[in-house]
Symmetry: C2
Subunit: 388 residues, 2 copies
């Protein structure tokens, strides 16, 4: 079974920023794209219909969570992740590695892979490059990620080098496994992987030469797209931007570049400027539940007493349901009252703001005005009007 070609089309560039689109078995995704995080098969606090209305063209699913509960076997028997969760647009799944390293208990890494205990029931589990591929094949995502080792920041150059080289070897095993699955029917891998793309991940910490080595070795294996891992983990922001820019420049022009786990609205704009095409981040959803709203005028903490009698919408420039219908005073009341509707309304706004930012980025690139957009955007969102 030969997979459908994962066609990435680069439509236009504006400085380092790129306008593009790619095709998946579940439709086209326009880039630069933001992927809301649907950890356990739901984007926390939202219904899919509202996510679609907000303009989400692709979401991310977490392999670690779904593998543990309800299990990729069960999901495969339901016809794959799309059918199981009722989301018919593209899905990218991570490899599970990041969660194994950050959430699981008694995690032990060897050349073979990771041994760990489930944080849910303590059961012993294995995650290898091969099983990470198999699980994602059973999930039937449109884009699968290779298993990589996730290094904590800060790490020494030596630690980063050893870890990066292992990640490269794992990437090779992931690719081999996928190629085997593409050419053979493997027992217990019941969902067809036809059309599933696989992205490699560039590691190397904050060391430019290691990043270069990782990029070159990962490109030599060959993937449908390339991700930058191990960033946005606590390193200084300027250092992150520098690494992103240098790494992105080294990657193939004709394939998408995905910065994993980033970031703030400012990060999205700054990293698009440096050649990134795809993002995912829990900030808009997690911060919404904590009462923090991202707006065209900067961040706003809805708990703040100054909003108690504020009849304005959260963001006067936003057209989302929350901003069309509700005031800051009401959202503050709901949040302080512990109503889950507060989380739902805040999430809907934050995701709309992120997805709208991506739409505005794409429009600016299309019109060749990205740099002007970037400057105005950074000036407006960094206003300390609300959080001071």
């Amino acid at each position: 079974m030969t997979p459908d070609p994962f066609a990435f089309r680069l439509l236009r560039t504006d400085g380092g920023a790129r306008l593009g689109e790619f095709e998946t078995p579940h439709g086209v995704v326009r880039t630069p794209a933001f992927m809301p995080v649907g950890t356990q098969g739901a984007v926390k606090g939202t219904l899919f219909k509202d996510l679609e209305d907000a303009g989400a063209e692709i979401i991310l699913g977490n392999t670690y969570h779904l593998h543990l509960r309800p299990g990729d076997d069960l999901i495969a028997r339901r016809g794959g992740l799309h059918r199981f969760i009722g989301w018919d647009r593209p899905i990218l799944t991570d490899s599970g590695g990041y969660q194994v390293f950050s959430l699981a208990e008694r995690c032990k890494i060897t050349e073979d892979g990771a041994e760990f205990q489930s944080h849910l029931d303590g059961s012993k589990r294995h995650l290898t490059p091969e099983s990470a591929v198999d699980i994602q094949t059973r999930l039937g995502s449109d884009i699968a990620m290779v298993l990589d080792e996730c290094l904590a920041y800060p790490a020494t150059r030596e630690e980063a080098a050893v870890s990066m080289q292992r990640s490269v070897r794992w990437a090779g095993r992931c690719r081999s496994r996928l190629e085997l699955l593409r050419s053979t029917r493997v027992p217990n891998v019941v969902v067809s992987n036809s059309g599933q793309a696989q992205f490699g991940i560039v590691q190397g910490g904050v060391f430019p030469d290691l990043r270069r080595e990782s990029a070159d070795a990962t490109m030599a294996i060959g993937f449908e797209g390339y991700a930058l891992g191990g960033l946005s983990v606590g390193e200084p922001i300027d250092l992150m931007y520098e690494i992103v820019g240098e790494t992105a420049r080294r990657l193939p022009v004709g394939q998408p570049r995905y910065l994993m786990g980033a970031g703030t609205p400012e990060d999205l704009v700054e990293c698009v400027a440096r050649g990134i095409d795809m993002f995912d981040c829990v900030l808009p959803t997690r911060n919404a539940r904590n009462g923090q709203l991202f707006t065209s005028q900067g961040r706003l903490n809805i708990r703040n007493a100054r909003f108690a009698e504020d009849d304005n919408p959260p963001d006067p420039e936003c057209g989302c349901y929350t901003c069309r219908r509700h005031s800051r005073a009401y959202l503050r009341h709901l949040h302080l009252s512990g109503e889950m509707t507060a989380a739902a309304l805040n999430t809907l706004h934050n995701l709309t703001f992120y997805l709208d930012t991506m739409r505005r980025i794409r429009e600016a690139i299309a019109f060749g005005t990205f740099d002007t957009f970037r400057q105005e955007f950074l000036r407006s969102v960094s206003r300390p009007a609300h959080d001071s």
Copy 2:
């Protein structure tokens, strides 16, 4: 300022069941009607747009909660409850009495009213018949309820009689206060009460003669509608139905009858058969959060292991968003994973089921087929298919 007449139109009867409608400053409500409970200014787990889509024509707001947080003064300054919460359809507010008796601390009842401490911050509060009217006037609800004393079940005949007679005296004070407000502008009651209707409440426990006495005395005061209080609090179901039937028959034909706090889907149908026009209940929303779904085939506990691989919608006969898009297997997974989206999807279904039941009741009365509907409905929802 003379209020707009609260016009209840009785359109058709079918046995004891009544088809009607009434007008409020925020539009028409068709009866029999179910009012989703919006305790703190939100119907838990939903967005208003979905509630509107599900067919909710009126919601209930809790005076006790809103008085304590964010405060009726603040809400009045925001332009009243409708504007504050962004709901433009009719709202009924309770008097706060039930919550004072059940939630507040150190509650002491005298002839004057209730003294209690807020369950939120321990602050000392007063609720009198007059202040209950004032608060609801500040909230600007379409229908206000009189303050009554809520007796626990079981109570002796003597206790029920003493309590009922006090509730009648309080009802008289509530009516006098409203008439004063209708004819004068009272300082600090800043929201216009133009058009606000006021309902009396019939008490008397499970004692038919006390219910009769209460109904007669409450009608003698004269209200735009009449509620039955102190039912659905633990008494045997047949006794409740009997009291409902006897009390409803005694109330004026040309005014709406509201059974407070009830009930199950079966209760709605059985009490419509006995002449009730309005209901409110937390069951559809609260049980949804606990994973219990009301369906055309009876109740379904989504945690049940039998649903782990069930690809059917929660209710095959339901057209709600949840049932159109999601399976029992997915809802079970979300519920067990603690995702708030589970509560949202379950709530949307349960409220749709309740509101659809009311729509079907109204259609059956209109076509003169209510008794057939009632028999078929009770047969289908009492099937033990899922919970056995």
